[in-house]
Point group: C2
Chain length 190, copies 2
């Protein structure tokens, strides 16, 4: 894998459950950590439009051709607005991966989905469809899955884009920006 690739890191902003929408930020980073561009969109809190909104944001972006991988903080945005990673990959023709610090508790997730969503099965299926890989970092391990990349590439992508701690820069920067958008100042994980 090329050492100078550009990754679009994606994270959502903090939101309150009474909010209808949450802001989602994409940070285009030349690995390991050089920020080259930013973009944003909005997705519905607990809705089902995250895949569509990400495809739209990426497709209309002037940075589109430079994005070699899309890297998302977890598989859901704005609560349980679950992303269809394979569909995101197919629609944009850009490999898509998710990275999280906490190993997802699938049993807990399933029962929350069953409680609140009539379409819980579709959501749960999107969450569990791809194999979750534990990637060792210099810090704690992270958990990643992806479409359009194999296990080795998944681990490479995480390592080549991590500068400090265990969070890849594209996601760390997207997090700082989305929090500052909404709260006026960034917080946490920096």
């Amino acid at each position: 894998m090329k050492q100078q690739i550009r990754i679009l890191g994606i994270d959502d902003s903090p939101f309150k459950f009474k909010d209808e929408k949450a802001t989602v930020v994409g940070a285009l980073v030349r690995v390991p950590g050089y920020l080259e561009g930013l973009m944003r969109t909005e997705v519905t809190v607990d809705g089902s439009d995250s895949t569509e909104k990400l495809v739209e944001m990426i497709s209309r972006s002037k940075y589109r051709e430079q994005i070699k991988v899309v890297m998302i903080d977890g598989i859901a945005l704005a609560g349980f607005n679950v992303i269809d990673i394979e569909s995101l990959h197919k629609s944009t023709r850009i490999p898509a991966v998710t990275v999280t610090r906490d190993k997802p508790d699938l049993a807990k997730m399933k029962s929350a989905l069953m409680k609140y969503f009539a379409d819980w099965q579709q959501r749960y299926e999107k969450i569990t469809r791809l194999e979750l890989v534990e990637v060792r970092t210099e810090h704690k391990p992270v958990y990643a899955c992806g479409s359009g990349v194999d296990r080795t590439e998944l681990a490479q992508l995480v390592r080549m884009s991590t500068v400090r701690g265990s969070i890849p820069e594209p996601i760390r920067i997207a997090h700082l920006v989305s929090a500052a958008f909404v709260r006026g100042e960034s917080y946490g994980r920096s």
Copy 2:
């Protein structure tokens, strides 16, 4: 000067002249280019509140103690909302510098100020009070002035925070973020 200092880069968002306010972003960067935090405020287009608003934003920030230098893209925000750099330095007790790529055309600035502002003399005085220093970079030179730093430190600060081209990272990143805030996607100078 310490090699690992943190600089708060400041830039304003694009605005239209019918807008009452423009967004201003502060990007806390550990030199040369590691983004650690973001904050924002608003200033009045062509108003006189930029110094006050910057002091307020910095004073209330949880990153306050980490900021060793404030580095602003030019001496005015949101049109001709001129910053009093010495007052900013005194109020925050943090050295304040401005950096621009284009050498200011003072005659042109003066005539624009005279045409549109009853208080043009105060604005022009703030612009011209500090000595402008030409700083050589690997690219084109930039023009800087500052309060709380000497000529040598001014040049050091620019060089130690510039990664590519001639724009210091703190300002480049603040620019990307402020543009994405307002336009939905960053543009230019990246």
